[in-house]
């Protein structure tokens, strides 16, 4: 979520915290705790692992003396730290990293026949079904969709974060949304 105009930017809050202002960190944490946590829970699909990575990410930020580099925003930087921590965890525990799977969207694409507004209104609101739909997505598509959903990142930021070409990120997001439409569409009673 973009910060209000009269409130300091994430980068300014981080700089203040680095200069000893503890209250600035509380404001920064309050802004991003929910989005980062939900991103990690949805991506790892394990609450305990998500909490561990969440804690590591924030402690890493607290102990680091660096700032977001170049044009990267704080939000991109934060989610990149979390993503790298999760990948490190998978490597450390010899878990296959699903984010490195190459997925040919063209082979799995199905015609999207749920694009009419009437049908959009009929998307399922069942939490379990929403979660199941997310987990049904291929990992790389899910990652892009979750970064868009919980990180509120723009596509170029997602491309920079994942190291994927922008066009690839665009297509992943498009296929993810098509599949979610298909999985969540409900029959509208006539």
């Amino acid at each position: 979520m973009p910060a209000a105009l009269d409130s300091p930017s994430d980068e300014a809050l981080l700089a203040r915290y680095r200069n000893g202002d503890g209250a600035s960190f509380e404001a920064l944490y309050a802004r991003h705790r929910q989005g980062l946590y939900r991103f990690l829970v949805s991506l790892s699909n394990k609450a305990e692992l998500a909490e561990e990575i969440f804690q590591d990410t924030w402690l890493s930020l607290i102990r680091s003396t660096t700032q977001p580099q170049g044009r990267a925003s704080f939000r991109t930087w934060l989610f990149q730290i979390a993503r790298n921590r999760l990948i490190d965890h998978w490597r450390k525990h010899s878990v296959h990293n699903p984010l490195h799977d190459s997925y040919d969207e063209q082979l799995h694409v199905q015609p999207d026949d749920t694009s009419s507004p009437e049908q959009q209104l009929s998307l399922s609101r069942d939490q379990a079904r929403l979660d199941a739909a997310l987990q049904a997505l291929p990992e790389d598509q899910r990652e892009v969709f979750l970064l868009r959903l919980h990180g509120d990142l723009e596509l170029p930021q997602i491309a920079a974060l994942t190291g994927a070409p922008l066009e690839t990120v665009k297509s992943r997001l498009r296929y993810a949304q098509q599949k979610l439409h298909r999985l969540l569409a409900e029959e509208v009673p006539a």
Partner: protein, 203 residues
């Protein structure tokens, strides 16, 4: 085609909003507390302002000595620059080159030059006036002596003038003596020249 793309973007945004509305899950309160406590504990000490850093520096003995030294030097320089300087020293620095003999001859020279030493001009005439009444007067006479040395024709003192007149009269040059007396009268109009001549002649 643009309409179709626009519709697709709107649908996608709607899908994102749909998920946001129904998303749930919060980090546990204990995790929040742990992270915030760690942030407070490991927060770097506040950077003092420039004024605070200056005050801290002043409280260290090393810097106290340095500041005191600088302040002392500044005070001394200020005092030296503000102390009064004798006008004569500035006006005639060459007087320092005077030898003892030169000073003696200068003291004998008549205080005829009025300009550099007003004290000399105001002093009583005669032999007593030649002796410096104070060190200041002595200093004031130095430039006069130097200038009289370099002057082409120094005027004689009253005493010398009167002696010269007596000598001329004794030599029978009464006309020259009268001219001298007239000249002396112009220079010393308040002096009773005939009476002084008479006293000098008797002596």
């Amino acid at each position: 085609m643009n309409d179709r793309k626009h519709t697709s973007d709107a649908d996608d945004q709607m899908l994102i909003e749909h998920f946001r509305q129904h998303a749930s899950g919060e980090p546990p309160a204990s995790l929040d507390a742990f992270i915030l406590a760690a942030a407070q504990r490991e927060a770097p000490p506040p950077t003092p302002s420039l004024w605070q850093r200056w005050l801290q520096a002043c409280q260290r003995p090393r810097w106290q000595m340095a500041f005191a030294t600088v302040a002392g030097v500044a005070l001394m320089v200020g005092l030296v620059l503000r102390s009064p300087v004798l006008h004569d020293e500035l006006a005639a620095p060459a007087s320092m080159e005077f030898s003892a003999d030169q000073q003696e001859s200068a003291a004998v020279a008549p205080p005829a030059m009025p300009a550099p030493a007003p004290i000399t001009r105001m002093a009583p005439q005669g032999e007593l006036a030649r002796a410096p009444a104070s060190p200041m007067q002595s200093l004031a006479e130095k430039p006069a002596a130097k200038m009289s040395k370099s002057a082409p024709a120094a005027l004689p003192s009253l005493e010398q003038g009167l002696l010269e007149i007596l000598r001329l009269r004794e030599a029978g040059e009464s006309k020259a003596a009268d001219e001298k007396l007239l000249a002396l009268h112009k220079r010393f109009p308040e002096e009773d020249l005939p009476a002084r001549l008479e006293a000098l002649r008797k002596r």
